[in-house]
Symmetry: C2
Subunit: 448 residues, 2 copies
Amino acid sequence: MRVVHPAQAKGKKIVIVIGGGFGGLNTALALAEKSDVFVILIDQRNHHLFQPLLYQVATAGLNPGDIALPIRAEFSDISNVEVHLGTVERIDLKERVVYGSDIEIEFDFLVLACGAQHSYFGHPEWEPYAPGLKTLEQATEIRRRILTAFEEAENELDSEKQNSLLNFVVVGGGATGVELAGAIADIARTVIVDDFKRIDPERARVILIEAGSRLLAAFDPELSDRTREDLEELGVEVRLNSRVEKIDETGVRVGTDFIPSRSVFWGAGVAARRLDFSGANVELDRSGRIVVGRDLALPGFANVFCIGDQAAVPWKDGMIVPGLAPAAIQEGKHVASQILAVISNRKRRDFSYLDKGMMATIGKNRAVMQAGGIKMSGFIAWQAWLFVHIFYLIGFRNRVSVMSQWVWNYLFSKRGARLITERDWRLVKSQAAMASTPSPGGGRAPSS
Amino acid sequence: MRVVHPAQAKGKKIVIVIGGGFGGLNTALALAEKSDVFVILIDQRNHHLFQPLLYQVATAGLNPGDIALPIRAEFSDISNVEVHLGTVERIDLKERVVYGSDIEIEFDFLVLACGAQHSYFGHPEWEPYAPGLKTLEQATEIRRRILTAFEEAENELDSEKQNSLLNFVVVGGGATGVELAGAIADIARTVIVDDFKRIDPERARVILIEAGSRLLAAFDPELSDRTREDLEELGVEVRLNSRVEKIDETGVRVGTDFIPSRSVFWGAGVAARRLDFSGANVELDRSGRIVVGRDLALPGFANVFCIGDQAAVPWKDGMIVPGLAPAAIQEGKHVASQILAVISNRKRRDFSYLDKGMMATIGKNRAVMQAGGIKMSGFIAWQAWLFVHIFYLIGFRNRVSVMSQWVWNYLFSKRGARLITERDWRLVKSQAAMASTPSPGGGRAPSS
């Protein structure tokens, strides 16, 4: 059906924002209660995700609910923003219509903020054996695999099989890979160490594989080296200049070397989301990002903007703006101001990125960061990282519980969210159902 | 393989406890560091669940991590208790061997604490359309269905379809059904009410169906009536003496009446877990509970005990001990003391149940409770309920965050854990994968 929105009748300009990440959320918030516009925010998920802490969910440090926020809750008191849970199938830029699975909306302005996802470099068949870390489901799946590996190792009597169960391989030496590898090593060495009585978690090997010549390529080389040293001190084996040739259920082949592992995680390539523009000429860069002008608009479509990880935004020295939360937030606010400028016939301004720097944690109490000329590492950098992230979490209603968990974890090296939940609720029930049949072999230990 | 446990060599008695619920957990804790015994606690899940608050997870009040505790964490400092994550396939009571999926252990004492599950009265085909509430996965599935129903109703233009999306049916007027129905009505009226702009959540109907003549049959009739009145005040339609004839994807048939609904939840019959006893003569009652003697041992097997929801424990006036957490805890401690008595040739004692009463919440700030002769209802009962449950939660490491969320929810009527997560992480990814192919129709709104 074609949704002719009531707000249109009221002569308001319809702004459609696709994506409830940092970019889209902040665009909509910056347009809140602006009398000239009515905003429709579309996302296929009902929650905004604080992605910088997603690896903490994957390593049982935080609950999914601690880093996710219902998008609706952000706008419940805002009269001119409507949240739509659904998928977008096609966009007609000329006719100015967004076609969704169950909607069809005309827009005056469109903001694309669809983000990015992991790319398997043309090997989608690797994905089942090496989940990425972009969604809550992937995070809990990684958590399930890590914890299950230790449980199975505890039961395993064959020492070779036990070793392969205790091999954890992280592919990709970017921030995601570094933080995930550090956190896994941290769990194995400090958190789980007491829980198992037959295996020595110290035997757990964490291997970080990077195709390039250094970790955190976006950072200063000096910090790349420091990161490698810190990870190695945590017991992580860092393999640079190593290319993954194959991943299957038995393990990973790196060059000529084979690493037996049941726990491989993907933090490598990133590709922007792609949308169907009904054949319109939209320029994409090598990573599938939409090339936009300095005003963040699509060339030829002045009323269509693209921001965040989905956009290739020109910066300095031919570089593009890095795919970081602060950048997406700044871009979202800029686009909102541009839309209001156009409506009131004011002049468009170019977007200028205020570089707030980059940071990455290494294990429990170390980090590296650089902002402008400043470089920091070690404990001080970690404290800065902690401060910045808790600062961002303000606005998240559960910051109380997040912070109390941080403190708790930090003081007692605990991992509270150490839950193995099944992928499918029916799986659990079906075991129960079997248990309820008294026939031989049907018995099961209980779910507590 | 046959595990001959090192502890056996040391001449310790092997105690196998099956089930990490209230009964099994407390049996093992009561045997902690007792020099004569070595305990192997087997569960198919890695976490102990605080089931009395499971309905809070189903209604987005709490995170799964808030009411679940890694079983291993409880015993990490205890030298004579080993936790085994696995399933039990068969038990040979005469040979005293437990056969698991990957183990085979001889025991000197066996404690069965496998709990119960929902029974569909011979209609397992109803389960996919009416999940029960016994596991975390079921709770998050119910949460997913409730929140998705509101989202779909918001998008639905056909008012008849919209109505059926806003019909929530709870089957079973016991504590689970009453608490779930009250909480759903509470969400619809207070929590979600602001979040949706096209539908009026007040239109949400919550229907509680009970086959018997009153709610909470285990309680005093006076409290049953009070419960019905309180629920009806919350807007719940209570249907007594109503039998469910059929449940499918379109709704529920109750007698001759059909209720269109996509959100049916099951809180009705309970059946004890069943195990395969290799043909040994183990007496079960109508609900599949194992009939035990006053010492909680199986007739004919003095070294085998059964406790908690899996056991039919004789009480007074021909009644059996009710399936409540306090009962399971008392039984667990009693069995532990009996095992130690037998080992040191002391006399066995019968179990005597100290009735701590029963309670059930109705919506956000009402409850009913009875203990001995005392009956309470309304706000005072709710405060008592809150106190008791927070008291129990002590020992759960995350009581801080639980309590802070309680306070938060109570003050602001928020539901923080309002997340719709997909059943399968691969489902989410596969949408992303499709989105990454630029072919027409492949477009998707992002996961934020």
